[in-house]
């Protein structure tokens, strides 16, 4: 079924306003968009992190659906327990409200997912629980004060890998968690951003429909940690895709599919220079780091094209994946892997 703004707009908002997210936060937007598609028959579990902290502070909660937070590294294991309880209680006809199906969604930031919670996530995916794990990836430990994570891109300034007189921020490229999840051979894995609302909603719908575990990696531009104006979070998300820094793709039953290919690829530096975390890279002497980052993005894109079977000579397709909310965005054109 085609996803339209009109339809999404009629859905109840399951995350109330009045929570404590920062001005310009794209994370709460991610949560609300996911819940528009998931609906009220959903239990969410959270890893410790910024979205957990800002949505629940006793005696308040922003959640209009059942919610559990246990610890930092165990959101996947916790939700796997909830999902198992659902099956066990349903089998004996003991559910508190009768439901054939419910959605079980675990959320973690990149700290709770790429790093401290990776084992718990891997275990839950391998066990095949009928659950969706969503990583809201803001590329550092924002909740504890912008420390580097294994999702932080090379060259970014963080509190634990700062730019200084002799160091230029993080020294390693980020880990490719999405591909690690693909290697679990689960039915559905995808990447998206909050700007690409139709792409996001489509992916949430698919992820919740498949029989078995699904994983979504959602880039979450962070005004505080990335140092950009609070007004431009969505633009940063859009341009992360336009530069190929964060490609939109999905892997359904092992089959890679690129959901959007920029017509005119935006140079990476245009994206980097809007973010204070990369400011130091524009000082004289760091040209090689900028060049290396562009090279890395290009290489990763080439690898992705290959995985999607699109590495032959092809014309870039004209696609629009829920771009401007005001524009007449068409359904994303699907380029099937060969």
């Amino acid at each position: 079924m085609a996803i339209t703004l009109k339809k999404l707009a009629t859905k109840p908002d399951l995350l109330t306003g009045g929570h404590r997210a920062c001005a310009g936060c794209t994370g709460s937007n991610i949560l609300r968009q996911i819940l528009l598609t998931a609906g009220a028959d959903t239990v969410v579990g959270f890893a410790t992190g910024c979205m957990e902290v800002v949505t629940t502070i006793f005696p308040f909660t922003a959640w209009k659906i059942p919610y559990i937070h246990s610890a930092f590294e165990n959101a996947a294991a916790t939700i796997s327990g909830v999902e198992t309880a659902f099956r066990a209680l349903r089998k004996r006809g003991e559910l508190p409200v009768d439901r054939e199906q419910m959605n079980f969604i675990a959320f973690g930031g990149d700290g709770g997912t790429y790093d401290i919670g990776l084992q718990s996530l891997s275990g839950a995916m391998e066990r095949g629980h009928n659950m969706l794990y969503v990583c809201y990836d803001n590329e550092a430990y924002m909740n504890t004060g912008i420390q580097r994570s294994s999702a932080t891109p090379k060259g970014a300034h963080t509190s634990t890998a700062p730019a200084g007189k002799i160091k230029q921020g993080k020294e390693q490229h980020r880990k490719d968690l999405t591909k690690i999840m693909v290697a679990h051979n689960i039915p559905y894995v995808a990447q998206t951003t909050p700007f690409h609302w139709r792409d996001l909603a489509t992916k949430v719908e698919k992820a919740l429909t498949v029989d078995g575990p699904a994983f979504l990696n959602i880039l979450m531009p962070c005004t505080v940690g990335w140092h950009f104006d609070t007004a431009i979070g969505m633009q940063i998300a859009r341009e992360a895709v336009e530069t190929n820094f964060w490609p939109l793709f999905e892997v359904e039953n092992g089959q890679y599919k690129i959901n959007y290919k920029p017509k005119d690829k935006m140079p990476l530096i245009n994206w980097l220079k809007q973010q204070g975390r990369f400011k130091h890279l524009f000082k004289p002497g760091n040209e090689d780091v900028l060049a290396e980052l562009q090279e890395w993005v290009d290489e990763e894109w080439e690898k992705l094209l290959k995985l999607a079977g699109e590495d032959g000579p092809t014309k870039p397709e004209k696609t629009a994946v829920g771009t401007q909310m005001t524009s007449k965005s068409k359904e994303s054109k699907v380029t099937k892997g060969t």
Binding site: A40, D41, T42, V43, G45, E52, V53, T56, I57, F58, P59, F60, T61, W63, K64, I65, P66, Y67, I68, H69, S70, A71, E73, N74, A77, T78, I79, S80, G81, V82, E83, T84, A85, F86, R87, A88, L89, K91, R92, E94, L95, P96, V97, R99, M102, Q119, S120, S122, G123, A124, E126, R127
Partner: protein
């Protein structure tokens, strides 16, 4: 109630008890000597004797985390562990208790690393004594089985709603075949009854938020409510002990008073060593020496008043600790007992401590006799250090 006399290892006995409770969900990760308990339980599922859903997780941290999720969803949930696995759960033990989730866990007591050692002592469970769980200690397979049943009643009671650890000594109890009486399945389940959770994450028509951020303005009050649940647990445990006694003929109390009535010299012991001590005490009694034992069953919450009242007026007390509190003054049982006696109005006997059996070092009858001999000398006025070691090369 007609009961069957069977020969089972402690692990199998507890697996039976847990099966009889018909849990919805079991999560577990293997660790010696807990493994066979979960093997047996998996066998019950494979043979259709119980329809529990198992979550075979990738670590004990996830075992306890999945148990938290499952129990918060309203499912009767069991798990089991030992030693390092217990230590890996430690963070989540506190969460399970704070969220007031009555998970039942078999803790097959084993020494903590390092160096790695698979044998019995109490350092694992003692390391979690402040986590908010109810802790029950068993002397033998019978007690482990009985507490395996009672754990559900105690933890799930609406006035308690706390997770429960059924402790039994690794290998000594877990792997040794022992004679015990078992209730028929139906009678056991009648006693336990179905789990009626106060809240469930699966009640999507009444959504709740579990585990919010809880700061300076409320956290303290929530901790106090957890303390109050422990205080409430005393009367609930007593009532369930009584009901279980009527059903089975096996009487339980917070502690077992063994030949304590007219005793002058008292040993305080947890777990299987109490069995050895009973034989030694009997021998001394035959020689006219007034020795008795207080075997602690309920260690959390700690029945301080009852224990103080049982021990005050004694000539001398020897507390045996199968774990060590490094840098502390004596083992954890010793400090609890001494502290309980401090306010005793009927006279505070001298209390001495023996750290024993670490890493499964065998504790034989001669060692128990050694402690009794030392206590006799103390009773006659001989000065001795309060904290001592037993059965170790110095």
């Amino acid at each position: 109630m007609k009961q069957e006399l069977v020969a089972l290892t402690g692990n199998d006995a507890v697996a039976y008890a847990f099966k009889q409770a018909k849990p919805h969900v079991a999560s577990a990760f293997p660790i010696t000597p807990q493994t066979e308990m979960m093997h047996k339980f998996a066998e019950f599922i494979a043979n259709g004797e119980v329809d529990t859903e198992m979550i075979l997780v990738e670590s004990e941290h996830s075992a306890m985390s999945a148990a938290v999720g499952s129990c918060a969803a309203g499912a009767r949930t069991i798990t089991a562990t030992s030693s390092a696995g217990f230590a890996l759960m430690w963070e989540v033990l506190y969460i399970a208790a704070s969220l007031r989730l009555p998970i039942s866990m078999a803790v097959v007591n084993r020494a903590l690393s390092g160096n790695i050692n698979i044998h019995n002592d109490h350092s694992d469970a003692m390391g979690g004594r402040d986590a908010g769980w109810i802790q029950l200690y068993s002397e033998n397979a019978q007690e482990a089985y009985d507490y395996g049943l009672m754990a559900f009643r105690i933890g799930e009671h609406p006035d308690v709603r706390l997770p429960v650890m059924v402790n039994y000594d690794g290998f000594i109890i877990s792997h040794t075949a022992d004679a015990l009486y078992m209730l028929p399945d139906a009678a056991a389940y009648d006693f336990i009854g179905p789990y009626k959770p106060a809240y469930s994450l699966l009640d999507v028509e009444n959504p709740i938020t579990i585990g919010p951020l809880d700061l300076t303005d409320y956290y303290f009050e929530h901790k106090v409510s957890e303390m109050e649940a422990h205080n409430k647990a005393f009367e609930i445990v007593r009532a369930i002990h009584e009901e279980f006694g009527h059903l089975t003929g096996r009487t339980y109390d917070f502690f077992e008073a063994y030949r304590l009535d007219d005793a002058e010299i008292v040993l305080v012991i947890l777990g299987s060593t109490a069995g050895t001590a009973k034989d030694v005490i009997d021998e001394y009694r035959e020689r006219g020496v007034k020795v008795g034992m207080l075997k602690v069953r309920l260690f959390r919450p700690f029945p301080a008043a009852e224990i103080a009242s049982a021990l005050s007026g004694m000539k001398v007390v020897g507390v045996m600790d199968k774990s060590v509190s490094f840098g502390g003054w004596g083992g954890p049982v010793f400090t609890e007992i001494r502290s309980a006696l401090y306010q005793s109005l009927n006279g505070m006997p001298p209390v001495h401590n023996w750290i024993y059996g670490l890493g499964g070092r065998d504790t034989d009858m001669n060692q128990i006799a050694e402690v009794i001999e030392a206590l006799r000398e103390i009773a006659q006025g001989k000065p001795m250090d309060p904290v001592n070691l037993l059965g170790v090369r110095l």
